[in-house]
């Protein structure tokens, strides 16, 4: 069986060395890219070369090596700005991951602007990274959290949105659910938020690796992402925010790099974006991130998106055909608003056990609550199994998933 895909997956796969691995006599079928993506050779090599050739601390030395390192680091910032269609590199703050970026929004912007009784609107499909920082602020400040409910199809139920937004200061939502795959219409949400005089923060950790994002077209106020899910290294993520917002926000972490002056009595802050980057930043990681963006741009996010739609559709059909009413899959059936994520339950077998059997066939899927416990409670399940696709997956991978699931069903059959 073959799909009419425009990605040459076989060729792309050769760029990802880990995919050559075998476990228990089977080739690795990596279906956990929503947890972290694999890395192409170009990303790995550029960091290797950085450490061998260019390594120095940034923004600190007059010497040529430090100047090269600084240029490489700031070039990554400019590259990320262009990738997101930001208006200036100053709008890109590097953090260690998306989670830190959301904490930055909650602590710095939220800390300055939110007071007792102020309202932040979240949704029931949020990742803990966009839940816990707000719980922490709620505990400290007494802000109120409101939750956008979900439809049966796993979409945001927008009927109540105007009421939820009434008097709200911020709407903070994911643009692509890491459990349901649901793609939210950020522009629509931004318009609704702005109409209610609220700002909008977007957790785009799952979107930016897979779908072209234009923060200006989104009309968003804050956008968080993470490098390791977009072919880049661990240890780097970031926040895009509108320049005037960043300008007005108090610092987040304190230390070197983020200051203008320090005395025994106090300190003043540096310009954006450095104001929010305390201490030595993830330098080699930024260099790796730039290579990851180059790779994604070369392949083309449009082709990636098309490929994932086709592959997800293929896999969903195959799963339902094979397991009929013995499988429950979650999320929208409309593939045009769904990313390459399939969470499911196989009747009578716990997600952990499913995943354990799959591992014997070298099929790597994730089992658990996917850092989205409010959603799991809403779905009424303790855990699901999740298969997630990326540009290096193909129908053979989906087929391997189905075959291995059949084996799991057989193994646990009463």
């Amino acid at each position: 069986m073959s799909l009419d895909v425009s990605l040459d997956v076989a060729a792309l796969r050769r760029d990802f060395p880990v995919l050559e691995r075998e476990f228990h006599g089977h080739r690795l079928v990596y279906l956990d890219s929503a947890a972290t993506s694999q890395k192409p050779t170009s990303v790995i090599e550029v960091m290797d070369t950085f450490y061998r050739h260019t390594n120095a601390n940034v923004h600190r030395g007059v010497y040529t090596l430090a100047e090269e390192a600084t240029a490489a680091f700031e070039s990554a910032r400019a590259r990320m700005a262009r990738f997101l269609h930001a208006s200036t590199p100053s709008e890109i703050v590097f953090t260690k991951n998306a989670t830190e970026a959301m904490n930055l929004v909650a602590r710095s912007w939220g800390g300055a602007h939110l007071h007792e009784g102020d309202v932040v609107v979240l949704s029931l499909m949020e990742h803990h990274a966009n839940v816990v920082p707000w719980h922490m602020l709620a505990a400290e400040r007494g802000i109120e959290l409101r939750w956008i409910p979900l439809t049966d199809d796993g979409c945001l139920d927008l009927e109540s949105l105007p009421q939820l937004l009434e008097g709200a200061a911020l709407l903070s939502v994911t643009s692509l659910s890491n459990v349901l795959g649901t793609i939210n219409d950020v522009r629509h949400l931004a318009d609704a938020a702005h109409a209610a005089d609220a700002l909008i923060a977007v957790d785009a950790a799952q979107t930016i690796p897979h779908v072209e994002v234009d923060v200006t077209a989104w009309d968003a106020d804050f956008v968080a992402w993470t490098g390791h899910k977009m072919l880049g290294p661990t240890g780097i993520g970031g926040l895009w925010a509108r320049e005037n917002l960043l300008e007005g926000m108090p610092p987040f972490l304190g230390g070197g790099e983020m200051i203008r002056d320090v005395t025994v009595d106090g300190f003043t802050t540096n310009d954006i974006p450095w104001k929010f980057e305390a201490g030595t930043p993830p330098i080699a990681e930024a260099v790796g991130l730039e290579a990851a963006i180059d790779y994604l741009d070369d392949v083309g996010l449009e082709a990636v998106r098309r490929h994932e739609i086709e592959l997800t559709g293929y896999a969903l059909r195959a799963l339902h055909e094979r397991f009929d009413d013995r499988i429950t899959t979650y999320g929208p059936s409309d593939l045009s608003i769904r990313g390459g994520v399939i969470s499911f339950l196989l009747d009578g077998i716990h997600a952990h056990d499913v995943s354990q059997v799959l591992d014997e066939d070298a099929v790597a899927v994730r089992a658990g609550h996917h850092c989205a416990k409010p959603l799991m409670r809403h779905l009424g399940v303790p855990a699901t199994t999740r298969a997630s696709f990326y540009l290096y997956n193909d129908e053979a991978d989906a087929d391997a998933l189905v075959e291995s699931l059949a084996r799991a069903e057989k193994f646990f059959a009463v």
Partner: protein, 161 residues
Amino acid sequence: MPGLEDLYREIILDHYRAPRNRGELPSPPATRAEGFNPLCGDEVVLTLQVDGDTVTDLLVAGQGCSISQASSSMMSAAVKGKSVAEARQLIRAFKALMSIHESKLGGEGDDAGTEADNALDGVQLGDLEALQGVVKFPVRIKCATLAWNTLEQGLDETSPS
């Protein structure tokens, strides 16, 4: 390479499919203890009745994978009717069985092995030994120990050691 049969022994699957002592005692008077595995969402809810020195009754609720649920069920069968001291000894012995691998993961070398042997010394684990295969699957060790950690919490509440 350990196979699935090492993990899913028949007796484990049996406890999973037909869990013993399932339910919740009214609490109070029973003591209630809840255990979570934060990484996978498994949960175990124990309600236990300690009278004098004895665990006179104990029911298990919650949800999770075959290992966590079978381990709960086997634990309940092993502990019910035992003295608190015996229950604690079982906890130690079971954790020792599991920690052999856990401590290796922590890079602590092989000392833990000896310790484990000491803790196991003389304790009859019976059916519970079927769970020994779990140590070959480090990720699942927490599934197996969840019920036991929760029991320990419960005992600490009713009869602080």
